[in-house]
Symmetry: C2
Subunit: 337 residues, 2 copies
């Protein structure tokens, strides 16, 4: 047998037992708003700072995901979480609150699927009964750290993306109910791909080759084709990155189609109404869209099998200032119902 490097199979089909999805005031106007459990009316969320508000988002999403299945924090075996903030402090402070054994992750906006892949592996290989995983982002905390204070009012080019304020978390475990639940059947861990792009206001373009590489490897390693998936979703490539990824995949002989190759960064906001330039981004983007909209549609019967390939740009303000290009990664997870 050929080596299937970086692809994990989950024969026991670990299920997504429950999810919690919360957002900010801007997300309240999302066309996917009905798939959120809660919205905050302002970006402070009752906290003194944006970083504490970010932690609040994570804690709330965790709360909803546990509450819906009447589980306590103490019943969870592991908490897998990450975010974009330096030293992922919102995740670590949320881990202090829930007191679950904690593995801190960093994969920028791909963290959502890094966590889900690991959660499925842990449950499938019986290293724990319940894994709680997810990711979040907070627009103002991220803008403050990576760019300018929002009060500065700096203009952005049309290739820029808008960081989602939101968090999506899920409990992964064995399905002990009679209800049909979405389950994770395989995952492919990304390699870092960097074609030399240096513009932090065009992250979608930089991340597209990583998405194309992971999708190609996932299809090859799992012996599947584009036709086996009702939809292939990318994390947050937005308009420009999505077009680039489609082009790269076509070049590789992988014929993704306009109508079944979707991007979470283009689904969460109405482009014509929201000043989001190329589309949305942030670890909270793919996390909220998957754990809300996509899984709800799967439960309704709209789709039976999807691939979600979450993309991440692994740069920092320091690497940008030091003239490094943008290394990118993408992790893909197959979900079936």
């Amino acid at each position: 047998m050929n080596r299937q490097v970086g692809t994990w199979f989950f024969p026991s089909r670990p299920s997504i037992l429950s999810t919690g999805v919360v957002g900010g005031p801007f997300e309240k106007k999302s066309p996917l708003a009905s798939h959120f459990d809660h919205f905050y009316d302002d970006l402070w969320m009752g906290q003194e700072t944006y970083e504490k508000a970010h932690r609040e988002l994570i804690e709330a999403a965790v709360h909803y995901s546990l509450d819906k299945i009447n589980k306590q924090e103490s019943e969870m075996d592991i908490f897998l979480s990450g975010d974009l903030i330096n030293q992922i402090t919102p995740s670590s402070f949320a881990a202090r609150t829930n007191a679950i054994p904690y593995l801190g992750l960093f994969g920028a906006c791909s963290t959502s699927m890094e966590g889900l892949a690991m959660a499925a592996l842990l449950v499938d290989r019986e290293a724990g009964k319940y894994a709680l995983t997810g990711a979040g982002s907070h627009n103002s905390a991220v803008e403050k750290q990576f760019r300018y204070p929002t009060e500065y009012g700096g203009q952005k080019p049309p290739t820029a993306q808008w960081t989602v304020t939101g968090a999506g978390y899920a409990v992964v475990g064995k399905n002990e109910t009679t209800e049909k639940l979405p389950c994770v059947t395989s995952a492919t861990i990304g390699k870092v791909i960097d074609l030399g792009l240096t513009d932090p206001f065009n992250m979608g373009g930089a991340m597209a080759p990583a998405a194309a590489d992971t999708i190609e490897r996932h299809l090859k390693n799992t012996g599947t084709t584009v036709e086996d998936y009702d939809v292939i979703f990318t994390g947050d490539l937005a308009t420009i990155g999505r077009k680039t990824a489609m082009h790269l995949l076509h070049e590789k002989g992988i014929a993704v189609k306009e109508e079944t190759f979707k991007d979470c960064g283009l689904l969460i906001y109405r482009a014509e109404e929201a000043p989001v330039q190329s589309g949305a981004s942030g670890p909270g983007c793919s996390a909220t869209v998957l754990y809300g909209y996509i899984l709800n549609e799967m439960k309704k019967g709209t789709w039976k099998k999807i691939l979600l390939c979450a993309t991440g740009a692994l740069l920092s303000p320091v690497t940008f200032q030091q003239n490094e290009s943008i290394p990118c990664i993408a992790h893909a997870v197959t979900i079936e119902i």
Copy 2:
């Protein structure tokens, strides 16, 4: 059977097949210097910036670990790495170089054992044949980011610790040789513990309760006692933290002994010669001491079974400025030969 929350068992005994350990000029004077593969004569390591030097450290340690067993990067199934720098860019840029499927981790100074625990799980549960894992730190890159530029010459209190410049990496896999190799038999993932300490110049004291909690849980979940281990090592508690941890463990009825409860942060430098205040710290501390000195001593027959509990302080300069206390974590790994 009671739930053994957060503890993983590895019945197939994944082995540490090879290691690579590199250090800076200060580490060259370490009493453990003979256990390093290479030292750099200055902190720039042929690079333009400290962050790029940090990446160089990781790449060199990876190189040694692969080279010693004649393996290529392309034979590795997964690269598990992390560091203290914002967005863990030294790890991610090293992952760009080696092009191995990559999971970015963040557990501050506990990252070394977060990676080893996951590497052992992946190999044990056959999610990959070879896992490459480790952690590093670079004194000047860390000082620049977390504290003051070193040129400022700010004085530090005696409770402060000195960040190791070094990286330790290891290849974990099935032992297919006749040689006896150290193997990983169990691991316990830490919970975030925060007793309200707020002084970033006394991290050892802040981390001690996390170490005590994880050691207590590991012993209970694995059904072992202090006597089952030749030595219990902590990651980087240093003088004050080690004393506090011993005290806390004694209070829990766990009678760790002065001579068999050691701290990597106290082993790597000669306190009387080096201006390291309370001792050493940094993800590179436990990584270099384990993958160099400790494993070499195990191979020589000095110890048969050890526990390494790596500690991490999950704060950031922003959380400190926002008057948060310091959340801490510790991950413990049992290694036998």
